[in-house]
């Protein structure tokens, strides 16, 4: 037994030493390898992979572009992926791994707001810059910057501006006062409607029916017939791109296509969506941070390149991640260092020209983004203006 | 002790749709008696057992245990009282557990006052289990299973398993035990041991028995009285010797 014990003791001892060597060698790897280590947290497996895949492709394309011209300040951008599966606990695990194992200096992520909210304190503790590019829950930046989390930045519009702009346009230009709500049942869809409700009295408008659909829902006939009979003048829809063509086709089925337009944001403007249900999307009003048809050289080049590279048209998620990597590269360039603290302050003071307009950050680390308002006319998005507004932070 | 029978069944019926599996059977078991229940396959013996012990709900009739009406009680309601216990033909032991554990389990619910007390880990609970264990060991010795007591019960032979089950039923000191074919599928050498155990339980512990059995030698040597079922009805009743000679019984077995 004694022999046994000592042998085991030896084994454990060896294992301990082994582990120590592993961890210390891992730290050694942290020494400058001449790259910008950028983590990208997004859902890459499971049902939510349909959102993550665009994010990854957008970011990778941006990195490729930057690296092909020599990188940023002589450093290549090295994107390290972390799969969140759209679940907070997986997202946190991925973030931890990126920080502690891969020693990333910057993280972009996640798409889902609950995941981002869970990642915030982790990034804060580690002092790693978390740059969100696709979550719209207002709480993320309520709590950032002067609100607490110094290391969280968001280069994505919150839902409040969007809701106001859409409602204003619909009321003033179209004279709508009665709405039906059909939004996605996530924090995005719910929050956008919450903000819409906040502004309803200002335009003497009302909501007649209110429904939320689950991500991946395919049957809207019942709710669309209800909307048809309700007397609503427009359907307020905040959702994800993949549901829009389904809704459009079923609007044609129940006979409201062309009579009750969609307003809000759910990628009404992409060519394939319009093609799927042209009649239903005619007259749709959308407030978007970006759209593939946007008339700017930078934007057009992006769409072209993306389509050539991946054999599919980019969507909003692809764009925002592409743009955010470029934004970060710009901040690093201005900081002339990959020192996180320096990059962070560079980001706070940045004046970045995106494909849509100028991006700056407010004291809550929330990007002030121009929002494009468009209407689908004759099967093509027609831009009706760009708006930008300050956010009212709760005191 | 009064002269009231320990088990008194009157007019018991059980029908499944149009089929009458048990059709108005009267039967009683006297105190201290070993009563046999025989009949050809499909005569309704097992259904009858199930109705008496609460595994099935009788369609009509009354079951009285020790003078108390227990008609329609569930298996567990009856078992929890600890007065009348039954065995099963097929499944007889908790196969992953060793013999001692099997016996302790069989006694637990009659030692602990309630469910929550069984979660106890204090001295009181430990003492109770220790007492059960002592009794279990005694019974294991009596059953002649001492050498194999740490083996998982499922690994033992059919006969040994029947012995374990029989010993389990003696844990709570019941007044009446219903055995469903205790000799089926066991090694002939063990039959004598099972018979001895039943006899011992009957004489030393004063347990009454109602036994379904096909082995007619066992029935004649063990039972004081035999009841014959055929097609759900009572065909005959009497001393084993008489029954063996009974013409109707012979016809039922041969013709059925």
């Amino acid at each position: 037994m004694t022999i046994e014990l000592s042998r085991r003791g030896f084994c454990i001892g060896t294992a301990l030493i082994g582990l120590q060597t592993v961890s210390s060698s891992a730290f050694a790897a942290r020494s400058e390898d001449g790259t910008v280590r950028l983590g990208l947290v997004a859902p890459m497996s499971g049902p939510n992979a349909r959102y993550g895949s665009f994010s990854m492709r957008g970011a990778q394309m941006a990195a490729k572009e930057i690296n092909s011209v020599g990188g940023v300040g002589g450093r290549k951008i090295n994107i390290l992926p972390g799969d969140s599966q759209g679940t907070p606990v997986e997202g946190v695990s991925a973030t931890r791994r990126l920080i502690d194992q891969d020693h990333v200096d910057f993280i972009i992520g996640d798409v889902s707001s609950s995941v981002t909210l869970a990642m915030q304190p982790v990034a804060e503790d580690a002092g790693v810059l978390l740059l969100n590019a696709a979550s719209s829950n207002p709480k993320i930046t309520y709590k950032a910057g002067v609100g607490g989390f110094k290391w969280t930045y968001r280069n994505y519009p919150t839902d409040e501006n969007r809701a106001l702009i859409v409602l204003q346009y619909a009321a003033e230009k179209k004279g709508f006062t009665k709405y039906a709500v059909l939004s996605v049942d996530t924090d995005y869809g719910r929050a956008a409607i919450e903000f819409t409700k906040k502004y309803l009295p200002r335009f003497k408008s009302q909501i007649l029916t209110e429904d939320y659909y689950k991500e991946g829902e395919v049957d809207f006939r019942s709710v669309l017939s209800k909307i048809r009979d309700s007397g609503a003048q427009a359907i307020i829809m905040y959702g994800n791109a993949d549901s829009t063509p389904i809704v459009g086709r079923q609007m044609m089925e129940v006979g409201i296509a062309g009579k009750i337009p969609l307003i809000g944001n759910a990628e009404f403007n992409t060519a394939s969506t319009i093609k799927a249900a042209p009649k239903a999307l005619e007259g749709a009003i959308e407030a978007a941070a970006w759209l593939p048809a946007y008339e700017s050289e930078k934007s057009k080049a992006f769409v072209e390149k993306f389509t050539a590279e991946y054999r599919e048209a980019p969507n909003n998620h692809a764009y925002v991640h592409w743009e955010t990597v470029h934004l970060l590269a710009r901040a690093i360039e201005e900081a002339q260092s990959i020192d996180r603290e320096k990059v962070r302050s560079a980001l706070s003071n940045i004046h970045y020209t995106s494909a849509v307009g100028e991006v700056t950050f407010d004291d809550h680390n929330q990007a002030r983004l121009p929002m494009i308002l468009l209407e689908i006319e004759n099967g093509k998005p027609a831009i009706k203006g760009a708006y930008s507004a300050e956010i009212d932070y709760p005191k | 002790m009064n002269g009231l029978p320990i088990l008194d069944i009157s007019g018991l019926c059980k029908s499944y749709g149009a089929v009458r599996a048990v059709d108005g059977v009267d039967l009683h078991v006297d105190r201290g008696e070993i009563c046999g229940l025989i009949g050809p396959n499909g005569s309704g013996k097992s259904t009858f057992f199930d109705c008496v012990t609460g595994l099935a709900r009788p369609s009509a009739g009354a079951v009285k245990l020790d003078g108390q009406d227990i008609t329609g009680w569930s298996l567990n309601d009856i078992a929890r009282e600890g007065r009348m216990l039954r065995s099963f033909q097929k499944t007889v032991v908790f196969s992953a557990l060793d013999i001692e554990e099997n016996l302790v389990i069989a006694g637990q619910m009659f030692t602990f006052p309630g469910i929550l007390s069984t979660f106890g880990i204090g001295a009181a609970a430990r003492n109770r289990v220790a007492a059960l264990r002592d009794r279990a060991r005694e019974l294991i010795k009596i059953a002649g299973l001492w050498d194999v007591r740490f083996q998982p019960a499922g690994k033992l032979s059919g006969g040994q398993q029947k012995l374990i089950q029989f010993a389990s039923m003696l844990m709570p000191e019941p007044k009446l035990i219903l055995l469903d074919e205790p000799m089926a599928g066991i090694n002939p050498k063990l039959i004598e041991r099972v018979v001895e155990s039943i006899r011992l339980a009957n004489t030393s512990f004063g347990v009454s028995f109602l036994i379904i059995e096909h082995n007619i030698d066992v029935v004649t040597s063990l039972c004081q009285r035999v009841v014959v079922l055929d097609q759900g009805r009572k065909l005959a009743e009497g001393m084993p010797g008489e029954i063996v000679q009974n013409q109707a019984v012979r016809e039922a077995y041969l013709g059925g």
Partner: protein
Amino acid sequence: MFFTVIEQVVNGIVSGSVYAIVAVGMTMIFGVLRAINFAHGEYYMLGTFGAWFAIEYFDLPYPVAVVIGVVTTALIAVIVGNFVMQRIVGAPAEAGVLATLGAALILQNTIILVFGGSYKFFSGGYIEPVTLFGFTLAEQRILIIIVGMIVFVGLELMVTYSRMGKAMRAVSQNIECCAVVGIDVRHIALWTFILGAGLAALSGVLTAPVNVSVYGGMGELITFKTLPIIIMGGLGNVRGTFVAAMILGIAESLVATYIGLQFRDTVGFATLMLVLMWRPHGLFSAQARF
């Protein structure tokens, strides 16, 4: 008001038909294999992808794409059936849950790996709306209802008259006896599974034109829709499953109209739990299988 209710019932029957075609395969698989197939929706997804691939890459017409989708899925089902489903015959329930979950993960994420995770547009099918008795439906939906009927009648005939069908019924009733009478249980299990997967694929291909989006994770929702149906229908009971699918379709439609779309996905399980409280063995007896 009355018209609205009728219209919603019709809507319910349309979605019920889709559920029915998927669920009937799953319930037969349960009958024979005694396993809840958590991967069932994935065959729906595979069928859709097969057809999408045929249309997108080879420009084939929709009817051909339907055949390709179903056949591809059946071939994949042969592999999964051989390596997974046959082995869980007689295994404990939790083994079935884990094995089919594993199969679901592999199928779903392989598709994501090969085709990318993003959603695709399905461009085949007959999507023009037509008006029948005052209800406007896409032609495709009428096709779905008709195919649903054909599948139901076909299955009824098959289990009553064909050798294979009778064997399936036998296996679902008593697996031990079948082995004794010389029915090759493994063989029957495999064929039932292929048939079930094929039906799921058929349902996927048929609904693709009206559901438009195609993506790797689309099967999961279908699995969850189907589970309560097969329990309510009396596991393994084909007729019961059809009725349960219709009930669920109609109930969902009415809930979406009068309570709210957000509660729609809860309807299945809520109904199931209410039904089980009232009748612990489902609406239809599991004894009268097939």
